[in-house]
Amino acid sequence: MPISGYIVIPKKGTVDNLIAQLNQREDVEVGIRNQKGFALVAATIDDREAKAFGKDLEQWETVESATLVYHNFEDTVTQAATSV
């Protein structure tokens, strides 16, 4: 499951709504925030979904921009090395 980190810059005056909306989703977590925007992490099922999530986020009405700054190609099987 890939994990991606984004910088999200919301449109003016929409930040609280946007964060509230995002917080309802199980696959995302909102991180540090400042006057410009906030950090967001998304855990998706596979790479295709990770890309779709990024594209989709950019289209949200309240989103000015979403920039991918971290991407981790997480292990494709449920059993990670740590469990062996």
């Binding site: 499951m1 994990i3 991606s4 980190g5 984004y6 910088i7 977590e29 991180g31 540090i32 925030r33 400042n34 410009k36 925007g37 906030f38 950090a39 967001l40 992490v41 855990a43 790479d47 890309k51 990024g54 920039t67 991918l68 700054v69 971290y70 991407h71 981790n72 190609f73 997480e74 292990d75 494709t76 099987v77 449920t78 059993q79 990670a80 090395a81 740590t82 469990s83 062996v84």
Partner: protein, 785 residues
């Protein structure tokens, strides 16, 4: 454990994004500056890999309390990988070495610095011709330079070699034999400009994660980049690739020749580029003999797609697909490689052959078009390759076997004529063999852990404990366990330093905090021993003016007593600057002009050659050998290989054949073994295994087994498997379809885990030209236990 790991990655993602978001806070911090948070922020390169990311280090009350990606640094533009974000934690492991120790009655015992220094000096005085220094691509520039001057200039002994021999020597000899001078032509900007990426056995997603993110980010923004992943196992890199070309180990030699054959047979090579910039050469050694294009064309005819399929296992369709990209002049192709190609019994040849592909297709010397060898260690380039800390070399691209070069170096170092020994010293594997046979009596190991990394460990390190072994390190390792003397070292921002990364970027940082306990800089340790030898009357530590070998004077002409810790460590003395400025004139000798120290202080590194323009501004060079970019290129030449062996501005295209590896699977040992690294750990894990978060991410070694092989042998993930070769065996848990997935008949094992020494199994064979061992292939059997 699974939850820990995912949480760890999520945190890394959040901190990456967070750091970029708040990164504008300490913007443009050229020196130290106090942020709103009361932290003093200063720049430094990341301690770990050859990517050379810039980090901003936040210090409070003498402790590093924060690290964030440096937005001002063009390498990473604010981004770091999981290791980078946790760099500060490596400073604070509980078992940091704090006191010098000498083995007494079989036990390492705490001693004073004076006693430790005197013990070493006494031994070196008696054995100066059979003593060696084994260093590292993690040495700072000043550390490598000091080691060279100490042993080659002071002891007339060339037995200095670095662990970089194990990771990039083939790239060095590849470049030397191709265009006459080491280090790449291109730079990281080419990663942003290429449209086709060819990865030759390079798992960038784990090994060069921030550079990989630059590529992934371009794709995420909708740019089209086609990625070819040529490999022997599927990795995280494969997941992003458009084409996975799985080849039989050692088959890369045939693939590269196969591409060239198609280009020429189909008349799709770049005729102008070839006519203007290439000579042709045949032979197995470094010199070879000239051949014509027609002879080369005929020689290549063996490499039909069918023959390539036979020896390399990739289909004619796959080979033609890859060749078609090189045949298309509208493409901008970037080839990348690292250990996959360099750790190869024909590592030099495969480096030559990848240049062939780029030269024949004209994919070289223009933005986005280049062949680029990545380095693993943070200063494999800056220290090992530029300073030249190799057994045959001297600083500035000089070699000990050349009389003129020796004389030049003797003049620089003010040595009496004839002081430098003309006989090259032992390269790494030979050095440990010589220690085993007692033809070398002792070795000083700095910033590396050979008891874990030398191939075929059972043979080579067996007798190390009976030799005079000095180890300078920051934590106990399995090498310090064998040592006669252990010296506690300062780490990263506990000292001044300079690293040179993969793209020729020299980056400087200042000491920010004190090292723990009595730990001291490696440079000081060597200067202190050198001065003790001088006091004992060792003739080599005296220069031709009758002064101490490392003499530096202040503006009043007074000698600075840099061998005294209180002087060395004084804020008024910067020994790094003194040594670097002494070394810098060497770099002009092969047009590798590095920037002055004070210029580096003001910049986030600079790409050499760095020269002053007409207005006196220091100008870096993005692409070497390219007119308009490289100040040493002849006007009107377009591309000028000014160090080309034939002295005609051209590079060499080599006819290097496919050759089978020295050990291939057979009935008794039917599997290939490939070894390597993982994202979370830095080499032998000395530092990263002490970082809780990183160690939780990857706590133990494992063996990746192909799913079909596993099914046939009834092996499931977690089952213990015994891996044996003709040299040794270890037991490891199996991982099927995990992070990586090897081809059928191949197993992969990482080498970071000191409790599971895979190098007791690996083969001691190396490239005869570069002397770099092949850790990527030998024959093993596997059994479920």
């Amino acid at each position: 454990m699974q939850v820990d790991r995912r949480e760890f990655i999520k945190k890394a993602a959040l901190s990456a994004a967070g750091a970029v978001l708040i990164g504008s806070m300490p913007k443009s911090l050229m020196g130290a500056a106090r942020g709103e948070d009361g932290l003093i922020w200063q720049k430094a390169p990341c301690r770990f890999c050859g990517v050379g990311c810039g980090v901003m280090v936040g210090v409070k009350d003498g402790r590093v309390v924060a690290v964030q990606g440096d937005l001002e640094n063009p390498v990473n533009k604010g981004l770091l990988c999981a290791k980078g974000y946790h760099t500060s934690h490596i400073l604070y492991g509980e078992d940091r070495l704090r006191k010098p120790q000498v083995r007494k009655n079989g036990k390492l015992t705490d001693v004073s610095w004076d006693e430790a220094i005197e013990t070493i000096a006494k031994f070196v005085k008696k054995n100066d011709d059979t003593f060696a220094i084994y260093g590292s691509g993690q040495w700072t520039v000043a550390e490598g330079y000091t080691a060279m001057k100490f042993l080659k200039g002071g002891c007339s002994n060339n037995n200095v070699d670095p662990n970089a021999r194990l990771c990039m020597a083939s790239a060095v000899v590849g470049m030397l034999t191709t265009y006459g001078v080491d280090e790449p032509s291109g730079c990281y900007e080419d990663f942003d400009l290429c449209d086709t990426l060819v990865l030759w056995g390079n798992n960038m997603a784990e090994m060069h994660p921030v550079l990989w993110s630059r590529i992934v980010d371009r794709r995420a923004k909708g740019e089209k980049i086609e990625i070819f992943d040529l490999a022997t196992r599927r990795t995280r890199t494969t997941q992003e690739a458009d084409h996975y070309l799985e080849f039989t180990p050692q088959g890369d030699l045939a693939i590269a020749n196969g591409i060239c054959n198609i280009l020429i047979q189909e008349g799709k090579y770049d005729k102008n580029w070839v006519a203007n910039h290439c000579n042709f050469r045949a032979g197995k050694d470094g010199a070879g003999s000239p051949m014509t294009f027609e002879q080369y064309k005929e020689w290549l005819e063996t490499y039909t797609p069918e023959y390539v399929e036979e020896v390399a296992g990739i289909s004619p369709r796959e080979l033609k697909l890859l060749a078609s990209r090189f045949a298309d002049p509208s493409k901008k192709i970037l080839s990348l490689w690292c250990m996959g190609m360099n750790q190869h019994t024909r590592g030099t040849w495969i480096n030559n052959l990848v240049y062939n592909v780029h030269f024949l297709s004209g994919q070289f010397g223009a933005p986005g078009k280049t062949a680029f060898s990545l380095t693993g260690q943070p200063s494999a380039c800056g220290t090992c390759r530029e300073v030249g800390t190799l057994a045959h070399a001297l600083p500035g691209g000089r070699v000990v076997a050349n009389e003129v070069h020796r004389q030049q170096t003797e003049d620089f170092w003010k040595l009496p004529k004839g002081r430098i020994n003309p006989k090259p010293g032992h390269h790494t594997v030979a050095m440990f063999e010589a220690l085993n046979k007692n033809t070398l009596s002792g070795v000083w190991v700095q910033v590396t852990n050979p008891a874990q990394t030398i191939p075929n460990l059972n043979e080579i390190t067996d007798k190390l404990k009976n030799r005079f072994l000095v180890v300078s390190d920051v934590y106990p390792t399995i090498t310090t366990d064998l040592a006669t003397v252990v010296l506690p070292s300062a780490l990263w921002v506990e000292k001044n330093g300079i690293f040179g990364n993969s793209e020729r970027r020299t980056q400087q940082w200042f000491k920010m905090i004190e090292p723990p306990g009595e730990a001291r800089d490696d440079v000081w340790q060597m200067l202190a021993v050198a001065h003790k030898l001088y006091e004992m009357g060792h003739p080599g530590m005296i220069n031709r003016d009758g002064d101490f070998l490392f003499t530096f004077k202040d503006e009043n002409g007074q000698e600075i007593e840099i061998w005294k810790w209180e002087v060395f460590n004084s804020p008024d003395v910067n020994v790094d600057r003194l040594l670097y400025e002494e070394y810098r004139p060497f770099t002009k000798m092969k047009h590798k002009d590095v920037a002055p120290y004070d210029v580096l202080v003001k910049n986030r590194g600079m790409l050499w050659p760095v020269v002053q323009d007409a207005k006196g501004r220091w100008r870096e060079t993005k692409r070497r050998f390219v007119e308009g970019e490289d100040p040493f290129v002849k006007e009107g030449s377009g591309v000028d290989f000014y160090w080309g062996k034939e002295k005609d501005g051209k590079a060499r295209v080599w006819a290097r054949p496919y050759e089978a590896p020295p050990e291939i699977p057979d009935k008794e040992y039917p599997f290939w073994l490939c070894t390597g690294r993982v994202l979370e750990h830095w080499h032998t894990g000395t530092m990263t295994r002490r970082v809780k978060q990183l160690n939780a991410g990857m706590p133990n070694a494992y063996v990746e087994v192909n799913a079909k092989d596993a099914a046939e042998m009834n092996i499931s993930t977690g089952n213990m498997v015994k891996i044996s070769s003709r040299r040794g065996s270890i037991n490891l848990p199996a991982w099927i379809n995990g992070r990586g997935s090897p081809q059928k008949g191949l197993v992969f094992v990482p080498f970071f885990d000191e409790s599971k020494l895979i190098n007791e199994v690996t083969l001691q064979a190396y490239c005869p030209l570069s002397k770099e061992p092949d850790y990527k292939k030998c024959a093993v059997k596997i059994e479920k236990v």
